[in-house]
C-alpha cells in the first residue's frame, strides 16, 4: 500500500520533469532572411526493407548537400530559399510510418512529403496525407498506394515514382508469349509488394493469353523452398515468374535453378540491383527482368532524354557513397525529391502553409510532363499519379553476372 502512494508521487515528478524539460528551450527567434522550404523524407533505412530504404535515405542526404552547396533554390520571388530535407526512418513499421508522416506534416510543418519504401507502410500513410492535405510521394510500387480500389480514381494527394508491377508484368508476359510459353507459375513474397506482384503479373499474363497454373507465396525470411518447388514441378508450368525483392528473390531463383535447371525464370523490377545478382550467383545467369535504366546505364541509347540525368545521378551517388552499388530504389527517391524541389518554385512566399501545399500538389499533377527522371519519363495527370508507362523499364538479361539489355528484337 505504501509503495502505491510513493509510486504516485514519483509518477507525477516524471511528468513534471518531462514538461519542464521542454520549456527550458528558448522559442526560436524569428529570422529575417527568406523562409526555408521544408521537405519531409521518410524511408525504411533499417528493418526488413533496409536493402531498399538505405540507398533511398542516402540519395536524400546527397540532394540535401547539393542544394546547400548551391545555396538553396530560387523561389517565385526570385530570392534564394534554403531547403531543409528532414529525414526519418520508419523501420518498415506501419505505426512508425504514420507517426513520422504526422510529425513531418503537423510538427515540422513541411510543404511536401516523400515517403515511404514499402507498399504496406505507404498504404498506411494515405489517410494522414489526404486529411492533412499534403502531397505525399511514395517510393513503393503497389497499385493501392495511389489508386482507390473502390472508386478506381487516384488519391488526390498521393503520388508515386517507381514503375508499377503492372508494367513489370506486361514485360514478362510479352517475353514469355514471344518465346512460346503457355503455362506459367508465379512465386511471390508474402507482403504488400509480393501480393501486388501476384495480382498484376497474373492479370497481365492472362491478358496476354498465358495460363497461370500455380501460385505460391513465402515469407521474406524464408530460406527453404522445397514445398514451393514441389508445387511448381507438379503443376507442369513452363516458366516461373518471381515477384520479390532481394535477398529472398535470389534464394527463390536458386531454389528453382537447383530443382529445375533449365526452367526459364523471369522476375519483377524489384530485383533490379547488384545485390540480387551477387546473392543469386550462377542461378541468376539467364534470368530476365524489366529494369530501371539506372542500373544498366551503358545499355541506354545516347539519344534517350533520361541519359544525362542518369549519368549525373550515377556519378553523384558513387562519389557521395564512395562507390556503393547503384540501386533503382535510390533512383525512385531521387525522382521524388527532385520533383518536390522543383515544385517548390510554385510556392508563394507570403501564402499560408495550406496554400503552399496545394500549390505543390497542383504543380506535381499538372506541370510534371515528359519529366526526365531516373525511373523514366514522368507525365502525371489527374487520372495517373504514377506517370510512367511500360517503356520506363528496359528488359534485361543477366549474362556473366551482369544485366545486359535484352530488347524485343533479340527474343
Amino acid at each position: 500500500m505504501k509503495t502505491n502512494r510513493m509510486s504516485l508521487v514519483l509518477a507525477l515528478l516524471m511528468v513534471a520533469g518531462m514538461v519542464l524539460a521542454g520549456c527550458a528551450q528558448a522559442p526560436p527567434a524569428t529570422e529575417a532572411p527568406p523562409a526555408t522550404y521544408k521537405i519531409g523524407f521518410n524511408s525504411s533505412a533499417t528493418g526488413t526493407y533496409a536493402t531498399l530504404g538505405l540507398p533511398e535515405a542516402k540519395t536524400a542526404e546527397m540532394i540535401q548537400e547539393q542544394i546547400n552547396a548551391a545555396g538553396g533554390v530560387v523561389g517565385p520571388d526570385g530570392k534564394k530559399h534554403e531547403v531543409e530535407i528532414i529525414i526519418y526512418d520508419d523501420e518498415n513499421e506501419a505505426d512508425k510510418t504514420v507517426s513520422n508522416v504526422t510529425r513531418l506534416i503537423l510538427e515540422d510543418e513541411v510543404i511536401v512529403v516523400v515517403s515511404t519504401t514499402g507498399s504496406g507502410t505507404s498504404i498506411a500513410e494515405i489517410p494522414v496525407c489526404q486529411e492533412n492535405q499534403t502531397a505525399c510521394i511514395s517510393m513503393a510500387s503497389a497499385k493501392p498506394v495511389t489508386s482507390d480500389s473502390e472508386s478506381g480514381t487516384e488519391h488526390k494527394w498521393m503520388f508515386k515514382t517507381p514503375q508499377t508491377n503492372g508494367h513489370a508484368g506486361a514485360w514478362q508476359a510479352a517475353y514469355l508469349s514471344a518465346i512460346g510459353i503457355s503455362k506459367v507459375c508465379i512465386l511471390h513474397t508474402d507482403d504488400g509488394y509480393g501480393t501486388d506482384c501476384l495480382a498484376n503479373f497474373k492479370a497481365q499474363a492472362e491478358a496476354a493469353g498465358l495460363e497461370v497454373v500455380y501460385e505460391a507465396g513465402y515469407a521474406k525470411t524464408d530460406t527453404e523452398f522445397s514445398a514451393q518447388m514441389a508445387g511448381v514441378e507438379a503443376s507442369g508450368c513452363e516458366a516461373v515468374e518471381i515477384g520479390s525483392t532481394p535477398p529472398v528473390a535470389s534464394l527463390a531463383a536458386i531454389a528453382v535453378r537447383t530443382a529445375m535447371p533449365d526452367m526459364p525464370i523471369t522476375l519483377g523490377h524489384g530485383v533490379c540491383n547488384q545485390p540480387f545478382i551477387d546473392t543469386a550467383g550462377a542461378a541468376a545467369e539467364g534470368t530476365v527482368f524489366p529494369c530501371g535504366k539506372v542500373t544498366v546505364i551503358d545499355e541506354v541509347a545516347d539519344d534517350d532524354p533520361q541519359k544525362p540525368v542518369l549519368e549525373q545521378y550515377i556519378a553523384d551517388y558513387t562519389e557521395f557513397t564512395d562507390g556503393e552499388s547503384i540501386s533503382t530504389f535510390g533512383g525512385h527517391a531521387w525522382d521524388a525529391v527532385m520533383m518536390a524541389v522543383e515544385a517548390l518554385s510554385a510556392v508563394e512566399d507570403g501564402a499560408s502553409l495550406e496554400e503552399q501545399r496545394a500549390a505543390v500538389r497542383d504543380y506535381l499533377e499538372t506541370k510534371i510532363v515528359e519529366w526526365p527522371g531516373i525511373s523514366g519519363l514522368f507525365t502525371f495527370s489527374a487520372s495517373d499519379h504514377n506517370g510512367l508507362g511500360k517503356d520506363s523499364l528496359l528488359f534485361v538479361k543477366v549474362v556473366d553476372g551482369k544485366g545486359v539489355a535484352f530488347p524485343e528484337s533479340e527474343w
Partner: protein
Amino acid sequence: MPRIPRSKLARIAAIIVLTVAITALVIGLGSRKNLQPKHYVQLILDGFRGGSIYALMALGYVTVYTVTGIINFAQGEFVMLGALISISVYNMPLPLPPAARLVVAVGSSILLTTLIGIIVERVAIYPARLSPTVTLIIITIGVTITLRASALLIWGADPYVLPAFSTLVLEDHIFRFGGVTLQAQSLWIWGTLAVVLVLLYVFLEHTITGKALRACAVNRRAAQLVGINPSRMSMLSFGLAAALGAIGGIVMGPVTRPIYDMGLMLGLRGFVAAILGGLVSAPGAVVGGLLLGVVENIAAGVTNPTYKSVVAFVIMIGILLLRPQGIIGRGETGGEQ
C-alpha cells in the same frame, strides 16, 4: 503373456488410426496438386535438411533448460552469430588456401560464439537466476534485442554467404537421381549433426564435467549437495548451447543467406522442435527437430506453402496441450521452478 492394460492398448490403437488418417489426408491433398512420389521424397529430404538445423538448436534449448530451467530466447541469435562470424573470418585476407581459411573460420566462429554465450550468461542470466519465470523470459528477450542490434551495426542489413564446403565456391555440387535433387551441403549438415551427437554423447557420458552437467539436469539441488557448483554448470550450459547454435549457423551458411535478423523465426522453430522432444532429453530434441522439419515441409507442400509457420505453431500448441512431456520424454509440464 503380460496383459497390456486396456488403456495402453487403446492409446496405441488411437495412434495407429491417427497416423493412417493423416497419411490418407496428405496423399489426398497431394494428389489434388498431382504430386508424384518423387516430390514426396524431395519434400522429406529437404525436411531432414531443415530439421537438422532445428535439431541442433533444440539441443541448445534442452541443454540450457535442463540445467537452469530457463527457456533461452536468444538461442536463435547464437545461430546468426555463428554464421556471420564464420563468414567475416573466412573473408579476411588471410594468406591461406580457401580450405584452410574455412577451417579457421569455423573454429574461430564456434569459439567466439561460445564466449559470447558465456558472457551473456555471466552478465544477464546468472545475476537474475532466482527471479520468477516472467523476469527471466524478459531478460532473454532483452539479450536477443541487444545481440540482433549489434549484428545490424557490425554486419549491416545485407545478406552474406559462406561458400559450399565441398566446392568452396558459391555453387554447390548437386546430386540428381530420379528427379530428386540433393545438395552436397545437405550431406555436410547431416554429417555434422551425427558428429555433434557422438561428441555430445562422449562428453555427457564419459567426462566428469559432462556427468556433472547431467546431474544438474536431473536434480539441481541434489547436484549442489554433492558439491557441483551450479554457477559453473549454468555458465557451461550457456557456452555449450552457444556452440551448438554456432555449428548450426555455420553449416547452414552456404544453404541460406545469413542475415542479421535470421535469429527470430529460426529460434522459435528450434523451440517447437525442443518441445516436440519433451524439452528434457537430447535424443528427444534431435527426433523433435527432424520430425518438425519433415512434417512442416510436407504440410506446406500439400497445402499452401505460406501456412508453413502456422503448421509449426499449431503442432507446438497441440503438443503442449495433449502431451506436454513431448513424444519421447517424460518431463513435467514446465511448472514454476
